[in-house]
């Protein structure tokens, strides 16, 4: 076992405490102290050190049951049945790696590197382990095709770039104490964490006298705990309400005219849209009421409060942007922040992507010079040979740098299955022949899982690095078993924007016959004739190299010993503080140097589906389309508090806390003779899932919620008895790249004793 510099005096005989942490993609990165006895973790504690403590949630505290799960993959596997059938045989590492190497070389020789599809995922979030090393290896092998677009946030990211030219639009959480009003729009930190101190900061802001309003189709734990007022809103209509709020603010003269004048461009165009001068429709609260199901007076009240109770923080969650036209909601939220002058001041908030402390770029201190953008219209430079020089994709913000995925060599993640099935003939940049999948349960987590299964079946070869036999791993030809972050050392930067690092000291030796992703690359690189220089450094050397590039890690050894580095900030992070305080010397990193209420870069696209000012736009699966006659309920696919996406899915302690099931309102349940606890089917043209009805007042009528992440498990008749939300979701992204995970229409039916007669 590796040297453990963090060992401290044990409280009991034979127990060593190893300072480590938890770093899945839950919205946190948290401190865990592993109590190790005779090479085995017997229990955990979390942060008991100096404030602010970074306390792990139930997911991290349950980690022993994941680490020591009997379902862990123990040795390399080779498929023996049909692909996806889940039948495998044990093979040795040499045979597994030789097979992968042979396939990589064959595909490269036969079809070229672009035929290799690399699907990295967020299953592990350390800076070293996970997809980092495989990506570097495949790049050195001549490159690969990969996706653009991240389901969590692509709509919010696009809107943030279009409006502000950056994703660093957030404040550190301590600044919430300066807010008089906090609007939690589709934002549920009690379940989705949003950095570990966030829920505590919201609670303290409330105790400090802030008024808190929540806009959400569900009465979530965050609504229940923090909100003074709950405004349920019909999914996919958030932009309409935000635009109607803008109407109130304009009509009643509640604008911050000085701010608009000094810091923004394009307000007049937005005003004309809002007031109806450009299309004849005044976007009043009365206009928005039947769309949103929010009473007009409630919209008016929130608009007045937001414009007058300054400073006010409009925190625009990512969930409402995971819709068919998601970037319009995010843009409308950003613009509302600008119209009211709530940007760049303590207690305000700019919405946007909401990164605050950016470890990767040593953060908010980095400045961009819009005058030094390179011309990417003739081709985009990339370290990946397959992408290098490819032209910008249409509908991209390619003139901006940072946060955009402009190259036309990439395929939107939501269209990966379609691209595999249709390739060049379908208008995609390449024909895909093999998939190299690392830390990604993509079959489960990309939209339209049934189509995903069809696509994975069609490939010539699939290799998966995994810890468990996930729905994706079942479709592999070769499964390479990977260890967890308790079995290796790593550094976890904060998830979104808190000023700290977690150093994950290896707590126990790797279990079974598993390796890290990096060790796999060390063994695979020479087999595919890739120079192994990087891979021959040991883990700690690489971690020291990575850390040396970050100005905020001054003392590696102390961070390693303590397992955490907490960075003291002289004052709370306030996005755009400099731009607002001293605009002459600090332009916004947009092309105009100002906040772009109307964005010329968007106008140039000449695409009515991605207008220069934010608009409320429908789509073919909206509540008001003909399809709603057949499938009258709107599906939400929220995050579960007992999983991290599809990770931690089979942990008994967590499973016992909350059943997987579908939230449905009593009115909708009654109409279908459904009682709480009944088995129900939720279905549309893409698929059918079977789960348990959770009949509750805490969801608005007309809406059903199935938490995403449960494992796709089709039975012989094709019914997904695991009830993976993505069996039902659309795989058609918005022009800005938003994933329509919350834009599916469905029907629900009680499962009768003879399910086949139910139809």
């Amino acid at each position: 076992m590796a040297h453990l510099p963090s060992a401290s005096t044990p409280p009991d005989d034979g127990v060593t405490i190893v300072n480590t942490g938890c770093c899945h993609d839950c919205g946190g990165r948290c401190v865990l102290k592993a109590h190790v006895k005779e090479g085995r973790i017997i229990r955990f504690e979390s942060d008991t050190g100096p404030e602010p403590q970074i306390r792990a949630c139930a997911r991290g505290r349950a980690y022993r049951q994941r680490l020591y799960s009997p379902e862990r993959l123990k040795y390399p596997l080779r498929r023996v049945g049909a692909r996806g059938q889940g039948r495998f045989e044990r093979i040795g590492w040499d045979e597994a790696l030789d097979t992968v190497a042979d396939q990589l070389k064959r595909v490269k020789t036969t079809y070229g590197n672009a035929a290799i599809l690399f699907l990295p995922g967020a299953g592990n979030q350390g800076i070293l382990h996970g997809p980092t090393a495989p990506g570097m290896m495949l790049q050195a092998f001549g490159g690969f095709t990969r996706y653009w677009g991240i389901p969590s946030y692509e709509g919010a990211l696009f809107a943030s770039m279009a409006t502000y030219g950056t994703i660093r639009t957030g404040h550190s959480r301590d600044d919430l104490l300066n807010s008089k009003l906090i609007v939690m729009w589709g934002w549920n930190p009690a379940n989705t964490v949003w950095d570990p101190e966030t829920s505590l900061a919201v609670a303290k802001a409330r105790e400090n006298g802030a008024r808190i309003v929540a806009v959400d189709p569900r009465h979530t734990d965050s609504v229940a705990t923090f909100a003074h007022q709950w405004i349920p809103i019909r999914p996919g209509t958030d932009a309409a309400m935000l635009i109607a709020m803008a109407h109130v603010i304009i009509a009643e003269g509640l604008l911050d005219r000085a701010f608009i004048e000094k810091y923004t461009v394009g307000f007049d165009a937005y005003r004309d849209y809002v007031l109806g001068k450009s299309d004849g429709v005044a976007k009043t609260p009365g206009w928005a009421e039947p769309i949103t199901k929010v009473p007009a007076d409630v919209i008016t009240g929130l608009a007045r409060a937001y414009a007058t109770q300054k400073p006010a923080a409009l925190i625009a969650g990512w969930g409402p942007a995971r819709t068919a036209m998601g970037e319009q909601y995010s843009r409308a939220a950003n613009v509302l922040c600008a119209m009211t002058g709530n940007i760049g001041i303590p207690g305000g908030y700019a919405a946007g992507f909401m990164r605050a402390y950016s470890s990767r770029e040593t953060g908010h201190l980095m400045k961009k010079d819009p005058g030094k953008q390179i011309d990417k219209s003739k081709g985009i430079p990339s370290a990946n040979p397959v992408e290098n020089g490819a032209l910008p994709r249409p509908d991209t913000l390619y003139k901006l740098s940072g946060g955009t995925n402009a190259t036309s060599a990439r395929i939107h993640q939501g269209r990966i299955w379609d691209a595999i099935l249709r390739g060049r003939a379908g208008g995609y940049p390449t024909d895909l022949k093999m998939a190299y999948i690392v830390a990604s349960n993509c079959l489960n987590q990309y939209p339209n899982a049934n189509r995903g299964a069809e696509a994975l079946r069609s490939l010539e070869f699939v290799v998966v690095h995994e810890q468990f036999m996930t729905p994706t791993a079942r479709f592999a030809d070769i499964v390479l078993p990977v260890n967890t972050f308790m079995e290796r050392s790593d550094i976890a930067p904060p998830w979104l924007g808190s000023p700290y690092y977690i150093y994950l000291n290896q707590a126990v030796a790797p279990l079974h016959d598993t390796k890290s992703d990096l060790e796999i690359c060390r063994a695979l690189a020479p087999r595919i004739d890739v120079p192994a220089d990087f891979f021959n450094m040991n883990d700690e050397q690489i971690l020291r190299l990575f850390a040396s590039r970050r100005k905020d890690i001054a003392d590696f050894d102390t961070m390693q010993r303590d397992g955490v580095l907490k960075i003291k900030l002289p004052e709370p992070i306030v996005a755009f503080r400099e731009q607002v305080a001293d605009p002459d010397h600090h332009p916004f990193p947009t092309l105009s140097g100002k906040i772009e209420i109307a964005c010329d870069h968007l106008a140039e696209m000449e695409n009515p589906r991605i207008p220069a000012v934010p608009q409320y736009l429908g789509h073919p699966e909206h509540f008001d389309t003909p399809l709603a006659q057949k499938y009258p309920l709107q599906l939400l696919t929220a995050h579960s508090k007992v999983r991290t996406h599809s990770t931690l899915e089979r942990v008994p302690w967590l499973q016992a806390m909350e059943d997987h099931g579908a939230w449905i309102h009593p009115v909708d349940a009654r109409a279908r003779q459904i009682e709480n606890g009944d088995a129900i089917d939720i279905f549309n043209d893409r698929g059918r899932v079977r789960t348990t009805a959770r009949v509750t007042e805490r969801i608005m009528p007309g809406v059903v919620n199935v938490c995403q992440g449960a494992w796709y498990t089709p039975d012989e008749s094709g019914v997904d008895v695991g009830a993976c939300a993505n069996t039902l979701t659309r795989d058609e992204p918005s022009p800005g790249g938003a994933f329509p995970m919350n834009s599916a229409l469905v029907q629900v039916a009680r499962v009768s004793r003879q399910p086949q007669e139910d139809q």
Binding site: R55, H219, W230, W653, Q655, A656, R698
Partner: protein, 187 residues
């Protein structure tokens, strides 16, 4: 007289995240379901869109006059003189084959817990007395991401947090006099 230990729960902060429940399970290595020394329940009222929801964390409240002690036919449960912590001697407990969960039936808050094993003997929250003895807080208190839990001498808790004795889902029983202080959630 020695201090009587009690527990504080800030119901206004609890988001129902179950971290206390899982931390307790992990610390004492207790399997899923069955035995829950700490429990979190959800209280919901109202009809859409006028709703109220709160969570209640329920360890043992270490009553001044514990009904479980009075109910136990084997004198297996005692209240420690030194600190008032209610503990069970599992060697003394006769098990569920010989006693129909009398302690559990007597407790309004389900603190006595029984596993699925044959002739299961009672287990309960003992306020992590080993951790207290080594100067640490109970594991649930140290785990709560919302800092909604505290433990200490009842008088000290009252001095610090006031004397709220009821909360949503928790009715004060004068004759048991639970050693619990609450900041209750109100509509």
């Amino acid at each position: 007289m020695a201090a009587s230990m009690g527990i504080y729960f800030d119901q206004t902060r609890c988001t129902g995240c179950y971290t206390c429940v899982v931390a307790c399970k992990d610390w004492y290595d207790i399997a899923a379901a069955a035995v829950n020394l700490m429990r979190v329940s959800c209280i919901e009222r109202g009809t859409f869109p006028d709703l109220f929801a709160a969570y209640l964390a329920s360890p043992c409240y270490h009553c001044a006059q514990p009904p479980c002690i009075a109910a136990c036919p084997a004198a297996a449960i005692t209240k420690r003189a030194a600190d008032g912590i209610v503990v069970v001697d599992r060697d003394q407990c006769v098990g569920v084959d010989h006693c129909p969960h009398k302690c559990l039936k007597a407790c309004p808050w389900n603190a006595p817990q029984f596993g699925p094993e044959p002739n299961a003997k009672m287990q309960k929250c003992e306020l992590c007395l080993d951790r207290l003895a080594s100067g640490r807080q109970p594991v649930c208190v140290d785990a709560c991401p919302m800092f909604a839990l505290d433990a200490g001498p009842l008088e000290a808790l009252q001095a610090r947090y006031g004397d709220g004795r009821e909360a949503e889902g928790f009715k004060f029983r004068k004759r048991f006099n639970p050693s619990a202080i609450f900041k209750p959630k109100t509509e």
